[in-house]
C-alpha cells in the first residue's frame, strides 16, 4: 500500500501521483493521511485503484472520478463526487452541499447525512444516503437513482427529469413537477440492488418512489411557476 502524507507532500504531488496510475498499475491501494479538509483531493482519477482517505476533506473530493474506489474515513465538503463518471466513493461521515452533483455514473454512498442539493442535475450516478438529505435535492436530476434512508428536505426533485428518487422517511415537500409514483416490482428490484451496493440494511418495501410528472418537458405556460 502507498501511503501519502498530504500535509507534508502537497495536493499537486498527490493528484499527479494518482493520475500517473494506469489500468495495469501494481500500486492499487493508496492511503492518504492528514487530509485536514483540503480541497480537490483525488480529483480526476482514471484507474482501478483504491484510495483510503483518513480524515475529512474539503470541496470536490473525488470530483470527476473514473474507475477508482475512494473511501473517506470522515466527512466531506461541498461537491464531493461531482460529475463522477464511474467507480465508487464511500463517505463514512456526512456530506456538505451538492454531493454527487451532475454525476454521470458510478456510485456515491454517504453513511451519514447529506446537505442541500444532493444529486443536483445528476446524469446517471447512483447515490445512496443512509441518513437525511437537505432541501432542493435532485433539482433538475436527469437520470440515475437517489436513495434516501432517512428524510428529505424541502422541494425534493424540483424540475425533475428521469432520475428515480427513493425515500424511506418523510419528505418535507416536493418540488415542481415531482410526484409520488407507484412502486412496482421492477422498482423494488432496482432498489434492493442499490441498498445492497450501498451497504444499507433497510428494506426496499419501506420506501416510496418519486419521479417526474413530465408536465415541464415541453413548455406550457399553464405549468410555469
Amino acid at each position: 500500500m502507498q501511503t501519502f502524507d498530504l500535509e507534508a507532500q502537497g495536493l499537486r504531488a498527490l493528484n499527479s501521483a494518482l493520475h500517473a496510475q494506469s489500468a495495469d498499475t501494481n500500486q492499487t491501494h493508496w492511503e492518504i493521511v492528514n487530509p485536514k479538509g483540503s480541497h480537490a483531493i483525488a480529483v480526476g482519477l482514471d484507474a482501478p485503484i483504491e484510495v483510503d482517505i483518513k480524515g475529512s476533506t474539503g470541496y470536490y473530493c473525488g470530483g470527476m472520478n473514473k474507475q477508482a474506489t475512494l473511501h473517506v474515513h470522515g466527512s466531506v465538503g461541498p461537491g464531493t463526487a461531482e460529475n463522477m463518471m464511474s467507480g465508487m466513493i464511500v463517505v463514512e461521515g456526512d456530506a456538505s452541499q451538492y454531493a454527487g452533483a451532475t454525476g454521470h455514473g458510478g456510485t456515491l454512498v454517504i453513511k451519514g447525512n447529506a446537505s442541500s442539493r444532493c444529486g443536483i442535475s445528476m446524469k446517471g450516478i447512483d447515490i445512496i444516503v443512509h441518513g437525511n438529505i437537505g432541501h432542493m435535492s435532485a433539482f433538475m436530476a436527469q437520470s440515475g437513482n437517489l436513495v434516501v434512508c432517512g428524510d428529505a428536505g424541502d422541494a425534493l426533485g424540483d424540475s425533475l427529469y428521469e432520475a428515480r428518487l427513493f425515500v424511506r422517511g418523510s419528505v418535507k415537500s416536493l418540488g415542481a413537477d415531482c410526484i409520488e409514483k407507484e412502486m412496482r416490482p421492477e422498482h423494488i428490484a432496482i432498489l434492493e440492488e442499490l441498498l445492497e451496493r450501498g451497504q444499507c440494511d433497510a428494506k426496499a418495501s419501506e420506501f416510496k418512489r418519486y419521479g417526474s410528472a413530465r408536465k415541464l418537458y415541453n413548455f406550457n405556460i399553464d405549468n410555469a411557476y
Partner: protein, 447 residues
C-alpha cells in the same frame, strides 16, 4: 386628405412612436398565445456601439506605418497567468461558444475548419464536445457550463483551454433552452435526456455559488488537467468592473466579456432586449478593474457582442482588449440569413437578415438545425473557407487601421487613438468627444 362627405381637410394618420407597428404586433401575438416571444440572436435595438467611435489616424505628432508593407503583428497569447500551456493565436479574433444542438454538426465542423485556417480558436457550447469540432479545431476552448451537458474529464484533458461560463451578454442572469424540435437522437444522447423534450440549461452552476467557491472550483479543474489549460471566465455585460475583479480574484487566466449584442441560440426576447449593457459600456470598466489589480495584459481580456469588422476589432483592442470573439458574424459568414434562401425565409414568415427563430430548427441555411434534409444544404468545407476569408479580411482591416495610427502590433492601439461621435458613446467608452479632450465623468472634471 379630405372627408368623403364634407370635403373638409382631415388630420393625417400618424403612427404612434410608442405603439409602433412592431410593438402592436407583439401585443397581439402575446394576447393570442399567452407565451412570451422566444428567439435567437442578440439585441436588435440600436445602442451606442463601435460605430460611434472613430480613429484619429496619424498626424505630425503620430508617425504612420506604410500600408501593407511594414509589419503589423496580430498574434496574441492567452492564458499566461497560471497555465503551463497558454494558447498562442495568429490573430486576435476568436470564435465564441456555440453549442452542438443549437448548431448542426457540419456547422461546428466549419467553424473549426475556418478558425484553424485563420490561426485562431473555436469554442464548444452547451451540449459538450463533438468529434467534428475537436477534429477540425487546432485550438479548441471547452465551455464549462451550469448544465454540464456532456461534461467529462476526457474532453477536459483534450481541450486547449477551459471557459467557465458564468453568464453571456444576451441574457446575463438567465439560463438557456433548446426546444424539443432540435433534440435529435444524437443531441439527446450527449445530454442524457429523452429525445424531443425541451432542454433547460440552468442559469447558475450546480456546485458553486460565489467567487470564493469559484476559486476552489478552478483549483479542482486545474488539478484534473495538470495545471496545463488556460482557464477563462465568461461573464455577461452586467457589472464589468466587479465581475472582472472577482474573476481575477478567483484565479482566471482570461476574462471573456460579452455585451448585450452577443447572440444566443434561444431565449426570451424581453431578456435579450432589456437585460445587460452594450459592450461599448463594458470594456473600459473591465480594463479599469484589471489595471487596478495590476493585471492588465497579465490576465487577458476577450470582448464580444456585435463585433462585425476589422474596425470593431481595432476599436475594442484600442480600448484595452487583448482579443475579441465573434458568434453571430461567424454564422453570417457561414451563410446564415443569406438572401439566396429568401423564398424559404418568406415561407417561415420572415426575411433574410431578420430570421431569428433558430430554436425552431427550420433554418433554411442548414446551420442552426438538426434536420438532416436542411443540413444537406450546408457544406462544411465551403463554410470553413468562407469563415477563413472573413477572418482574414477582419484582420487586414484592423492592421490597416493600426498602421495608420503608427502601431506595429494591434495590441499597441490605445484609447488616445480614438474619439467619440456622441456624448453617450464618449461617456460609455470613456473616450473624448470628437473635437474636445473631454468625456462625461472624466476624472478632474465636475460635469
Amino acid at each position: 386628405m379630405k372627408d368623403d362627405t364634407t370635403g373638409a381637410p382631415r388630420t393625417m394618420p400618424i403612427q404612434s412612436a410608442t405603439f409602433s407597428n412592431p410593438v402592436n404586433a407583439e401585443i397581439r401575438r402575446a394576447a393570442a398565445t399567452g407565451i412570451y416571444d422566444i428567439r435567437g440572436g442578440g439585441a436588435k435595438r440600436k445602442v451606442p456601439h463601435f460605430d460611434d467611435l472613430l480613429f484619429l489616424g496619424a498626424s505630425i505628432s503620430r508617425y504612420p506605418l506604410e500600408g501593407y508593407r511594414e509589419k503589423c503583428e496580430t498574434s496574441v497569447t492567452l492564458g499566461t497567468r497560471f497555465a503551463s500551456k497558454p494558447i498562442e493565436l495568429d490573430i486576435p479574433v476568436t470564435i465564441a461558444g456555440m453549442s452542438f444542438g443549437a448548431l448542426s454538426g457540419p456547422a461546428k465542423e466549419a467553424l473549426g475548419r475556418g478558425a484553424t485556417m485563420a490561426g485562431t480558436s473555436t469554442t464548444t457550447g452547451d451540449g459538450g464536445m463533438t468529434e467534428e469540432e475537436r477534429g477540425h479545431s487546432n485550438k479548441l476552448v471547452y465551455q464549462y457550463l451550469p448544465s454540464r451537458y456532456g461534461m467529462n474529464p476526457d474532453d477536459l484533458r483534450r481541450c486547449d483551454a477551459i471557459e467557465i461560463v458564468v453568464g453571456q451578454g444576451a441574457k446575463p442572469g438567465g439560463g438557456g433552452m433548446l426546444l424539443g424540435q432540435k433534440i435529435s437522437d444524437r443531441v439527446a444522447e450527449m445530454r442524457n435526456l429523452p429525445k424531443g423534450i425541451d432542454q433547460r440549461s440552468a442559469c447558475r452552476h450546480p456546485d458553486w455559488t460565489g467567487p470564493d467557491d469559484l476559486e476552489i472550483k478552478i483549483l479542482e479543474l486545474r488539478e484534473i488537467t495538470n495545471w496545463e489549460k488556460p482557464i477563462y471566465i465568461k461573464v455577461g455585460g452586467a457589472r464589468p468592473y466587479f465581475d472582472t475583479t472577482l474573476a481575477v480574484k478567483a484565479g482566471a487566466d482570461v476574462v471573456v466579456l460579452d455585451g448585450m449584442q452577443g447572440g444566443t441560440a434561444a431565449t426570451q426576447d424581453v431578456f435579450i432586449e432589456h437585460v445587460g449593457q452594450p459592450i461599448l459600456a463594458c470594456i473600459r470598466e473591465a480594463v479599469r478593474a484589471l489595471q487596478d489589480l495590476d493585471m492588465h495584459r497579465e490576465v487577458q481580456l476577450i470582448v464580444s457582442g456585435g463585433i462585425r469588422n476589422g474596425a470593431d476589432v481595432a476599436k475594442a483592442m484600442a480600448m484595452g482588449a487583448d482579443a475579441v470573439a465573434i458568434g453571430t458574424a461567424a454564422l453570417i459568414a457561414l451563410g446564415d440569413n443569406d438572401p439566396k434562401w429568401e423564398a424559404d425565409y418568406n415561407a417561415l414568415g420572415t426575411t433574410a437578415g431578420a430570421y431569428d427563430d433558430w430554436h425552431e430548427g427550420q433554418d433554411p441555411a442548414g446551420i442552426t438545425t438538426q434536420d438532416p434534409e436542411l443540413m444537406k444544404r450546408f457544406d462544411p468545407i465551403e463554410g470553413g473557407r468562407r469563415l477563413n476569408n472573413y477572418l482574414k479580411v477582419m484582420t487586414l482591416e484592423a492592421q490597416t487601421i493600426a498602421r495608420a495610427c503608427g502601431k506595429n502590433h494591434l495590441h499597441n492601439l490605445e484609447p488616445e487613438d480614438l474619439c467619440a461621435l456622441t456624448l453617450e458613446a464618449a461617456a460609455m467608452a470613456k473616450i473624448p468627444l470628437a473635437g474636445t479632450d473631454w468625456y462625461p465623468g472624466k476624472p478632474g472634471t465636475t460635469y
